[in-house]
């Protein structure tokens, strides 16, 4: 097994962790205005993810750092190529964090409404753009001989890519709705469950269309033929299973099911691309692969040692933190001003 492969897998794991974890806190941010009846409800929603969202975001930061170190060309091409979409994500993440942290620091209507907007748009915009970006990558991009992206912003906004953005937003929202059912109680919890139930069928249809069109528009199934592999099949099955689990009010299992959809869906993308990182539509030889985009053997070795030591540690204390805050957030637990 070569180090390039190890780092391809590790970065995939970081993105999978990121989409799984930040997926639900994006969902909570998107749903907060719709399922809250008053300010206390909104604060309950925010507090369900209060101790976690910041650490969830670090999964992205670590993925970025790991790309820089292990595949510098991937990092350089992706981030300079997707300049404006990434700018939007960054601005959204800034305003969202500020919305969470500062919302309850001033008890004024205008202040809180502004924070609510920051949280909603700050969750919706990245949820959407990540879907668009990932779809674009699996569609292939105009990458030139010098590894630079030669397209423009509007080339990234094809209908299929937008469909990908809508799909990711929908799945994250469902994932967030189920997370709320796990962390709250009473009417708020019931409303979150109701939203999930109503959204599920149309979301499923949307995902189905997205997956079927994937045969036409993406490079993922080139090696597969008509019959999808195990993991694409599991992606679909887990999504369907989530609906029946939800109907039976098995919320934690249903949450696990949407989580599995996100995890499997991301694996499909990475597995389908392998060993390519960013396919070039201009000339297949100009694609970035895990070999032509990677760092030196020595760098990858050092990074591997570091990852072996720290990843288990990180997982350990993150799990500990979810264990400490396992109790549901109630309306009574919200401090008064």
């Amino acid at each position: 097994m070569d180090f390039q492969l190890i780092w391809f897998i590790l970065i995939a794991v970081l993105f999978i962790g990121y989409f799984f974890l930040e997926g639900f806190d994006f969902g909570v941010g998107i749903l907060m205005p719709f399922i809250s009846r008053d300010d206390t409800d909104r604060r309950v929603c925010i507090n369900t993810i209060g101790p976690f969202w910041d650490a969830n975001e670090v999964w992205l930061i670590t993925a970025g750092g790991a790309m820089f170190a292990a595949f510098p060309h991937w990092y350089a091409t992706l981030f300079s190529g997707f300049y404006l979409p990434l700018l939007l994500i960054l601005l959204a993440l800034i305003l969202r964090a500020v919305g969470f942290e500062f919302r309850s620091k001033v008890n004024k209507i205008f202040w809180k409404r502004s924070a609510d907007h920051f949280i909603f748009w700050g969750s919706l915009i990245p949820a959407f753009i990540w879907g668009v970006a990932l779809t674009n990558i699996v569609m292939g991009l105009p990458i030139g001989e010098d590894m630079n992206f030669t397209g423009g912003l509007f080339g990234l906004l094809s209908p299929y890519a937008i469909l990908g953005g809508v799909a990711s937003t929908t799945v994250f929202t469902l994932h967030g709705a189920l997370f709320i059912t796990l962390r709250t109680e009473g009417p708020l919890m019931e409303r979150a469950a109701k939203v999930a139930r109503i959204m599920w069928i149309p979301a499923g249809i949307l995902l189905m269309i997205f997956a079927l069109l994937g045969y036409r528009y993406t490079v993922l199934f080139d090696g597969l033929g008509l019959v999808p592999g195990t993991i694409p099949a599991l992606t679909i099955i887990s999504f369907i299973a989530g609906y029946f689990l939800l109907k039976k009010e098995r919320f934690s299992w249903s949450f696990a099911a949407t989580g599995a959809t996100i995890v499997m869906g991301t694996i499909v993308a990475f597995e389908g691309l392998f060993p390519v990182l960013m396919p070039s539509t201009l000339n297949p030889d100009w694609s970035l692969t895990i070999y032509n985009a990677s760092s030196s053997e020595l760098t990858l070795t050092i990074m591997s040692v570091v990852a072996i030591i720290f990843l288990p540690l990180v997982l350990g204390y993150q799990i500990y933190s979810y264990y400490v805050f396992r109790k549901r957030v109630t309306r009574d637990s919200i401090p008064t001003h």
């Binding site: 604060r43 507090n47 209060g50 101790p51 910041d54 650490a55 975001e57 670090v58 930061i61 670590t62 970025g64 750092g65 790991a66 820089f68 170190a69 292990a70 510098p72 060309h73 990092y75 350089a76 992706l78 981030f79 300079s80 190529g81 300049y83 404006l84 700018l87 960054l90 601005l91 993440l93 800034i94 305003l95 964090a97 500020v98 969470f100 942290e101 500062f102 919302r103 309850s104 620091k105 001033v106 010098d146 590894m147 630079n148 760092s295 030196s296 020595l298 760098t299 990074m303 990852a307 720290f310 990180v314 204390y317 933190s321 400490v324 805050f325 009574d332 637990s333 919200i334 401090p335």
Partner: protein, 465 residues
């Protein structure tokens, strides 16, 4: 302006802004942890109130440090893709380790500390804030390792037009890192120390819980006095290293055009970069030789000679950095550093005389000083970064060769305007919140009594959103 200049302005704006909050985070996290330790050890409720009070201010500062930090990490790829390709093999390692080792720890344990007031045992809760403080400073070490490599590249070989790692230990023990890291981190301690001292003085001045804030003032005084002295001594080592490793930067710091032996230190000069002269100078004879080499007679090279050397080595070009900025940045930093030493030692003197809580003019003066470390820190970074120009990696890669080739000017205009606007808004919000939360002090009735918290409901979270 063209893409290169725009990208440089954007990097400058976002970095200086990020670096308003980072040093304060480094120092304040440690001070909050120390104050909480006092509470843990003595059981004195006044320390608990102080922990919560400064803890709330810490969270505001920390938030802005974090959100502006994300931009920093992604900006290398967005605006400086050629730079990223060139250095990724080396520069990426500390960045990745920083995220893996420090950011996860920082964010997870901050969550545990904020929301764990009534859920964690006192010991684990105290441990959480210490881990936040340690992680913040660890992340500074890794980022400074990356920066030190840009200042003094070591442990690399050029393969296929990019720098490849050849010796990791050399990067860990980069001489530049060993002088730059302590100076920068301890400057952060001074920043945090003066913040706590200044706010405590403000409260004593207003007669708000004087006995409580005297305690935080005392802790901050000891902390700042030690740290400000160390900043000066570590700064001196860094300057001596600069003479060796980046003589051009040292010459710019001194506005020294012609080589001198023995070299005199410039106190004041009007720099004329176009004509390569310095006018109306006030100079201290021998002092630059002392500063540079610890003896009174050594030679220090001037900009003209260094320019000729660079041209011989790297071909034609202008290798002289913006001298005026570097020259004055250095003087502002050192002058303010002296002021911080004086401020803290004078406070210790007042404490010794038993007049710390009653000397109103000192309180006012300290409130003024509270704002100055940010200027000193920014000035220090300007010297470090501008003094390295036109190189982005000293001697290896010109800044102009590092910029992204395919990002349109219009894109950078948009992003620079957006960051400037949003950062400006955040600055106003942060200032407003810090004043709002600092001003009331600690509510009456909480000072001497031990059980004022009994009124708080059992499961209420002091820091919940």
């Amino acid at each position: 302006m063209e893409a290169l200049e725009l990208a440089r302005w954007q990097f400058g704006i976002t970095t200086v802004y990020h670096f308003i909050f980072v040093p304060l985070t480094l120092g304040l996290s440690v001070l909050v942890a120390i104050i909480q330790t006092f509470w843990y050890r003595t059981g004195d409720e006044r320390y608990k109130h102080l922990t919560k009070y400064f803890g709330k201010l810490f969270v505001i500062v920390f938030t802005l440090g974090i959100v502006t930090g994300i931009v920093q990490e992604f900006q290398f790829g967005m605006n400086w893709s050629e730079y990223s390709r060139f250095v990724g093999d080396i520069f990426g390692i500390p960045l990745a380790i920083e995220a893996l080792m420090a950011f996860f720890m920082e964010s997870t344990f901050l969550g545990l500390w904020l929301f764990g007031w009534n859920r964690l045992s006192k010991g684990v809760h105290l441990l959480s804030i210490w881990l936040v403080a340690i992680a913040s400073n660890l992340s500074a070490i890794w980022i400074l390792m990356a920066n030190s490599w840009m200042q003094v590249p070591v442990g690399y070989e050029i393969v296929g037009g990019r720098a490849e790692l050849s010796d990791f230990v050399a990067i860990l023990l980069n001489e530049r890192l060993l002088v730059q890291m302590p100076h920068t981190i301890i400057a952060g301690f001074v920043t945090g120390g003066l913040f706590v001292l200044g706010i405590s003085a403000w409260m004593m001045y207003r007669g708000n819980q004087v006995q409580t804030f005297k305690k935080s003032a005392q802790i901050a005084l000891v902390f700042t006095a030690v740290a400000s002295l160390l900043t000066a001594t570590t700064g001196h080592s860094q300057a001596q290293d600069t003479v060796q490793s980046q003589p051009m930067k040292m010459a710019a710091m001194e506005g020294l055009w012609e080589t001198e032996q023995p070299a005199s230190f410039s106190l004041f000069a009007l720099i004329d970069q176009e004509n390569r002269t310095s006018m109306r100078e006030v100079r201290l004879p021998y002092m630059l030789s002392v500063l540079a080499h610890n003896n009174a007679t050594s030679e220090v090279k001037g900009l003209n000679e260094l320019q000729a050397e660079m041209e011989e080595k790297h071909g034609e070009g202008n290798y002289i950095p913006p001298v005026k900025t570097v020259y004055w940045g250095f003087r502002v930093m050192v002058g303010l550093g002296m002021l911080f030493i004086f401020t803290s030692f004078f406070g210790l003197y007042l404490w010794w005389k038993g007049r710390l809580e009653t000397t109103a003019w000192y309180h006012k003066a300290v409130i003024g000083v509270l704002f100055l470390p940010y200027i000193a820190n920014s000035a220090g970074w300007l010297v470090t970064e501008m003094g390295r120009q036109p190189w982005v990696v000293y001697g290896l890669l010109l800044t102009s060769d590092g910029v992204s080739p395919t990002v349109a000017d219009s894109s950078i205009w948009i992003s620079m305007s957006a960051f400037t606007l949003v950062y400006g808004l955040l600055a106003a919000v942060a200032f407003y919140l810090i004043v709002k939360y600092a001003k009331p002090g600690i509510p009456k009735g909480k000072e001497e009594s031990g059980d004022s918290d009994g009124k708080e409901s059992e499961h209420s979270d002091a820091f919940a959103y």
